[in-house]
């Protein structure tokens, strides 16, 4: 078990507390002002949470993709008092009960969790953006992964709660015989509150082979568990988009899915789709995006922004793409784009832009609402997916962005690694904080690594901004990112170093 679990308070905060006490002196009745009240503690993490993540495990001596999704109960006092998870690992699919565990949350929202099942104990770093959600990364030797967790609403643990339209995004690998193909599936369906689905549509990209938009086959369904274990944790099973899944309900608006069609492996989420008749005008205004997956060169990730005119045209396209160390920036030449929204009004559509020097990038999307969508790249030999969200229309300043943020990043350098951390951004754009890092190939985990750096906004801040991170690893590491601001609460990052590929998100803390 990870020894870090024994630390009830992160070392960094012990240092701060000690330093504050040492500088406080004595004999003065006025003294220094007391430190600000801690925003987070063990009491913050209380209740039932759904988690999902994907990453890399050691299998037969090789790196191998795996996924896990589940639910855990935190008692607000440092103990995990129950839970359930589904894992899809190289030896198969299992449903495991949590028989115990511990956790600690520091004043900055960072912390750790251990989850015990009948195979042993797995350990994780966490970073809470609020009491109801955060980033999570597995920190065991020979296993690294990252994802997110959200507080569950047990009132939604029933078929009846899953009712209406949902948009989904799954990624992973499809295995057929000895062929293993990277895969992405995005789409939408209507749930009837009784376990039946209709109007199911999806687009798959299996190793670069595009399905085009397909309908669900008859027999698709979802079913919230009715047995004593699953029903208590919002678990269920489903067959949608041609795949078998287990799922965990966060609430009626969000469901976490894990593929159970071993040896294929998928992970993803579904979100409630706004109940409107979507058309070309539904996509209007500025959007920021991030997308990641695999190309024939290796891992690929991109972030950027574009403006849709509500009439089928996109302009002001800016993007940074890191294709396994090969960095490309758009625009390079003259950049123009178009989009369509499906005539069936169910929110699907296409998006294409062409740079006169860099070529064409094509995507399909499914709108969650006019302000949010999942999308999938459809270019030859690229399997990637992500999301785009309405971007703030007002200018962004570092003063407006100043505050506390948590982050979850993942990537390669060139072997898999995951990062969970927290930082404080000042109004001048400088920042400092701490992060945990799990390196797969070295089998090493690093905790409480100090990070510092600066954010430099370009223009009005809604375009490509630079974000440089100096991490006090051994030896020291520098990460160069481009940051796209969604709004004052959410920033999308893509690494632009040629020796490392990192993609991730930063979310503001209260």
């Amino acid at each position: 078990m990870n020894t870090r679990m024994n630390r009830l308070v992160p070392l960094a905060w012990l240092f701060v507390a000690f330093f504050a006490a040492a500088c406080g002196g004595g004999g003065s009745s006025s003294g220094p002002p007391p430190p600000p009240a801690a925003k987070f503690s063990n009491a913050t993490l209380a209740g039932q949470y759904a988690l999902s993540m994907t990453g890399t495990e050691l299998c037969a001596g090789q790196a191998s993709i795996f996924s896990r999704a589940g639910s855990f109960i935190a008692d607000g006092n440092g103990h995990i008092v129950g839970g359930l998870e589904d894992i899809n690992v190289c030896t198969g699919v299992q449903t495991l009960s949590f028989t115990g565990g511990q956790y600690s949350v520091g004043p900055d929202g960072r912390g750790s969790i251990s989850l015990t099942n009948n195979t042993g104990t797995t350990t994780y770093s966490i970073a809470l953006s609020t009491a109801t959600q955060g980033f999570i990364g597995q920190t065991d030797a020979n296993t690294t992964a990252s994802g997110s967790f959200q507080r569950q609403n047990p009132a939604a643990f029933a078929n009846a709660a899953i009712n209406g339209g949902y948009v989904f995004d799954f990624k992973g690998a499809e295995v057929a015989g000895t062929a293993v193909n990277v895969a992405s599936i995005v789409g939408r369906f209507d749930a009837d509150g009784g376990g039946n689905v209709s109007n199911g549509l999806f687009d798959s990209n299996i190793a670069g082979t595009l399905s085009g938009q397909q309908t669900f086959l008859p027999g698709s369904f979802y079913k919230v568990d009715s047995n004593s274990d699953g029903s208590a944790f919002g678990r269920g099973t489903a067959h949608i988009a041609g795949q078998d899944f287990a799922f965990y309900i966060v609430d009626a608006t969000r469901v976490k899915f894990i593929g159970t069609g071993f040896p294929s492996v998928f992970i993803g989420e579904a979100f409630t789709q706004q109940n409107i008749a979507f058309n070309v005008a539904s996509l209007s205004g500025s959007y920021a995006f991030s997308i990641d997956g695999t190309s024939s060169s290796g891992p690929i990730a991109a972030a950027g922004r574009f403006t849709a005119d509500g009439g089928g045209n996109v302009t002001n396209i800016v993007a940074d793409e890191n294709n396994n160390g090969g960095v490309a920036l758009l625009p390079n030449g003259t950049l123009t784009g178009t989009y369509t929204v499906d005539a069936n009004q169910l929110g699907g559509g296409t998006l294409t832009w062409t740079d006169s020097k860099a070529g064409t990038s094509s995507f399909i999307f499914y709108l969650v609402s006019p302000t949010q969508a999942v999308f999938q790249e459809t270019d030859s030999q690229i399997v990637s997916d992500g999301s785009f969200s309405a971007q703030t229309t007002s200018s962004i300043s570092t003063a407006a962005l100043a505050g506390d943020y948590v982050f979850g990043w993942n990537g390669i350098s060139p072997d898999p690694e995951d990062f969970i951390g927290q930082l404080t951004l000042t109004s001048s754009g400088t920042f400092s904080g701490f992060m945990d890092l799990n390196e797969f190939t070295s089998g090493k985990q690093f905790f409480d690594i100090p990070v510092k750096g600066s954010l430099a906004l370009i223009g009005d801040g809604t375009q490509a901004n630079t974000f440089k991170v100096d991490a006090q690893t051994t030896p020291p590491s520098t990460f160069n990112f481009t940051v796209y601001v969604v709004n004052e609460n959410t920033l999308l990052l893509v690494g632009v170093d040629t020796n490392r590929l990192v993609i991730g998100t930063m979310r503001r803390q209260p």
Binding site: C59, A60, Q62, V89, C90, T91, G92, L96, N117, T119, G120, T121, T122, N142, V175, V180, N181, D190, S198, N199, D203, A207, G212, Q213, T215, F216, L217, P218, G242, F262, N275, A277, T294, S295, S296, S297, G298, N324, G325, G326, N344, Q345, G348, T350, T352, G359, T360, S362, I364, T378, D379, S380, Q381, I382, P414, P416, T441, T498, N499, R500
Partner: protein, 160 residues
């Protein structure tokens, strides 16, 4: 209105799905494929033979991963092999002077041409690095192992 539309579409889709015995549902919208210069185009696969000049486990030149410089009859070719850990886990090594053979595709990067190897052969030892479609196998290959073999090779006692 939307629900009526959905019912109509749903009924039509169901009818089409029943009529078609295919494993997947009816296609609603064709996908547009555009080719990028970085793409691995199977139709452009070639074979190169040569002698290893040098092997770099963690190249500073993209794509990230192991590269090998190969002297062919006419030129030196930069060959990308993917993560070095995958080579090590398959007990595959390359050293200067080794006679080698590669199947793959040459792509253009900002810093010149790179040959993306799908298959590598060193003497009698051969290893698949990429899938037939050109995607690296490093992160996914273990998924195709027989379940029992995977079980035997997972770390003993490792918690899941």
């Amino acid at each position: 209105m939307k629900h009526n539309i959905r019912k109509t579409i749903g009924s039509a889709a169901l009818a089409v799905a029943i009529l078609l015995p295919s494993a997947s549902g009816a296609q609603q919208r064709n996908a547009t494929v555009s080719s990028r210069p970085i793409a691995y185009d199977v139709a452009r696969e070639t074979i190169i033979r040569g002698v290893v000049i040098s092997y770099t486990e963690d190249s500073s030149e993209p794509p990230m991963g192991a590269h090998v410089a190969v002297q062919t009859g006419s030129a030196t070719v930069d060959v990308h092999l993917g993560p070095a850990a995958y080579l090590r886990s398959n007990h595959f090594s390359l050293s200067a002077g080794d006679p080698v053979r590669f199947v793959g595709v040459s792509i253009s990067t900002k810093k010149g041409n790179v040959f993306l190897a799908r298959l590598v052969q060193n003497g009698k030892q051969a290893l698949a690095l990429r899938s037939p479609n050109g995607f690296l196998l490093a992160a996914t290959a273990a998924r195709a192992l027989p379940q029992a073999a995977g079980t035997q090779n997972v770390q003993k006692g490792a918690p899941r």
